[in-house]
């Protein structure tokens, strides 16, 4: 794999004094829409605000606001490729300088958080504004286990929620994202997720994470984790594969922003919930050896055997082992060691093992964020492993 330096220089977005902001909303009930529009109106002058909402929103109810209809889109639990295409088209149509995309159930976003997001986008100095949600300890686990550590280790970006459903975009980033999204739309894959953080980092655009407080994140409509997790991880792996020339170079992660720490109390009864996950892992260990042995290194398999033998109370998946597992799966995805659908399906029980381990840690009193930071650091420390194996996959790997 080429290691040519493709790192573009970080270029700040051109600052404008009076910028017009387009806010793209997802379908929501009228009363929720009133609340969101009211919060937005309190944030900035209405003449600088264009609110795009799906059909059914009457402008008569909001006479002081510029409400425009947005193209109909299929309701989704996250921002999809179609949303990015629509956002850019509407921004062009209404000559907006920035775009604020609010995902489903945006009414749960606090007024302060919404204001901070909108103002940062409107300032025009930042290309990508991503929210930092305050979630319960056992929420957003795919983000914590997979997306955040990989984004931080490979792209040197401290985006705690790479799959955020509320985003602020400059026009140039919206254009770039719409360009990538239109390919998915033309392939009839309008519901594919996009990875704006990766895109912004590769393009050298500025990025800022804003604390927005608590937020109720909608869950996928498909009730099956075994369908959703491979879909999300597959899309993320594909994006990482496409940007391999970028992330193979060493980069320094920016320092963490200071945040107000929420008090975490140990809840030993939470550990009782891990039994089904452990069963899933143990069943997989006895049945999927033939597949895991094609993907994982012998050392990792040995560590998994130790984990299999451990009891529920002492079930702790080491951070470095989890990092290696994900890196091995990423490499197998790239090398197409086995069918990609099979590969990502075989990752699900390992992810459940991580969830069980995470719950064990937190129920023992460890702060969830502290554990997730330890995971992210392990991914950073193991980065030379994935870079080396990516370049020379046939080398001996103990």
């Amino acid at each position: 794999m080429s290691t040519a330096n493709t790192t573009p220089e970080i270029s700040p977005a051109p600052v404008q004094s009076e910028t017009c902001l387009l806010v793209l909303l997802t379908p929501m009930p009228q009363e929720q829409l009133d609340i969101v529009v009211g919060s937005l109106a309190a944030t900035m002058p209405t003449e600088n605000l264009v609110i795009a909402a799906p059909d059914g929103v009457s402008e008569a109810l909001h006479p002081n606001h510029r409400l425009v209809p947005s193209p109909p889109a299929k309701a989704s639990w996250t921002l999809t490729a179609a949303d990015f295409v629509h956002a850019y088209e509407l921004a062009q149509e209404h000559k907006a300088d920035g775009v604020l995309m609010l995902g489903p159930n945006s009414v749960s976003l606090g007024a302060d958080g919404l204001r901070d997001l909108a103002r940062t986008v409107q300032s025009g100095a930042i290309d990508l504004v991503i929210p930092h949600y305050e979630l319960p300890p056992h929420a957003g686990l795919v983000n914590s286990a997979l997306l955040y550590p990989l984004t931080r280790a490979l792209f040197a970006a401290r985006a705690r929620f790479p799959l955020a459903i509320d985003l602020g975009l400059s026009l140039r980033l919206a254009e770039r994202l719409a360009g990538g999204a239109s390919r998915f739309v033309s392939l009839n894959q309008a519901e594919a997720p996009l990875w704006p953080v990766n895109e912004a980092v590769v393009a050298g655009f500025t990025m800022k994470e804003i604390s927005v407080g608590p937020r109720s994140l909608p869950q996928p409509t498909a009730p099956d984790l075994h369908t959703i997790l491979p879909m999300v991880s597959g899309s993320f792996f594909a994006d990482i594969e496409a940007k391999a020339a970028f992330w193979q170079r060493a980069r320094k992660t920016p320092p963490a922003q200071s945040r107000i720490k929420t008090e975490h109390t140990a809840s030993p009864e939470a550990a009782a919930n891990i039994a089904p996950m452990l069963q899933a892992f143990q069943l997989a260990y006895t049945n999927l050896q033939s597949i895991w042995s094609l993907v994982l290194s012998p050392n990792s398999l040995l560590d998994l055997k130790r984990l299999y033998d451990s009891d529920a109370t002492s079930f702790h998946l080491p951070e470095s082992l989890w990092a290696r597992i994900i890196y091995d799966f990423l490499l197998a995805y790239r090398l197409r060691t086995i069918n990609r659908g099979h590969l990502l399906g075989a990752l699900v029980p390992l992810y459940l093992a991580w969830v069980a381990s995470h719950i064990n840690w937190t129920s023992a009193g460890v702060d969830p964020e502290q554990h997730i930071e330890a995971i992210a650091m392990a991914f950073e420390q193991e980065k030379p492993y994935i870079v080396s194996r990516w370049r020379w996959p046939d080398r001996f790997n103990p």
Partner: protein
């Protein structure tokens, strides 16, 4: 006395004389027959030798051409970043072959060339063989059938492995205790089906194969049914019971608990 002796011995010596003469004739006849056989085999071999030579020459030449074409194609496709273009066009498609598109195109062109060489070689062999020899011609169609049967077996084995893995992973993720058993059952069903098709293609066994296939296939299905329905009744009920209990908990992206909710997204 001497006359008597001479009279007695005379017929004997005369009788012995023809015996030696007959042996020589037999040997002569045998050697002649052997010579003729050897001559016939040799002449047949000489007659088909050009055909065999033509077959191998065609195969080697087209293999070399295939290697050259594959190499050129690989370089050209890499130069125009064919893989990246295909990845952009296809997006996150479910169909993800093990090899990259460039490797697939290069390999396809190579094997197409080898196949072409094989066809040309066989036809060259066929021509020289038909004109120069009088051996039964049923060997060639049989050879074609054998190649078809081998291809059937290869494709069948690949499909069997793919389906076995799909069933195994799906069953493990659904937390079915008999995941491996199901996977093995599916694998052998497909393999038996493939073997029956290959034998049928080779026209070996006739109706015996159909009958045997029906019995074996039905047997495997019956075994699976009995195992799931009767033999592993307790195991299955336990497994299904725990499966039902876990529904809405493990299989959803949001699992509720007494203390707090686990949300994967």
């Amino acid at each position: 006395m001497q006359i008597i002796l001479a009279t007695i011995l005379q017929p004997t010596s005369q009788a012995m004389q023809p015996l030696y003469a007959d042996n020589a004739t037999i040997w002569r006849h045998m050697s002649e027959a052997l010579n003729q056989s050897f001559y016939r085999v040799l002449s047949l071999l000489i007659a088909i030798l050009p055909g065999i030579l033509a077959f191998f020459v065609a195969l080697v030449i087209f293999t070399l051409i295939g290697m050259a074409v594959a190499g050129i194609l690989r370089r050209f496709l890499k130069a125009i970043k064919f893989d990246d273009r295909i990845a952009r066009i296809r997006g996150n498609s479910d169909w993800t072959p093990i090899s990259s598109p460039t490797a697939l195109v290069a390999r396809s062109s190579f094997w197409a060339s080898v196949l072409l060489g094989l066809i040309i070689g066989v036809s060259a062999f066929d021509t020289s063989y038909a004109t120069a020899a009088s051996l039964p011609m049923s060997l060639l169609p049989y050879l074609a059938h054998a190649i078809g049967a081998i291809l059937l077996m290869i494709v069948g084995t690949i499909i069997a492995r793919f389906l076995a893995r799909s069933v195994l992973i799906g069953a493990v993720n659904a937390q079915l205790q008999y995941a491996r058993f199901l996977s093995l059952g599916v694998k052998w069903l497909v393999l038996v089906l493939t073997a029956a098709m290959a034998l049928d293609h080779l026209q070996i066994g006739g109706s015996v194969v159909d009958l045997a296939f029906g019995i074996i296939f039905g047997g495997i299905v019956l075994t699976l049914s009995l195992a799931v329905g009767l033999g592993s009744r307790e195991l299955v009920s336990r497994s299904l019971g725990s499966h039902v209990e876990r529904t809405g908990e493990q299989h959803s992206t949001e699992s509720s608990s007494t203390s707090e909710t686990i949300r994967h997204f």
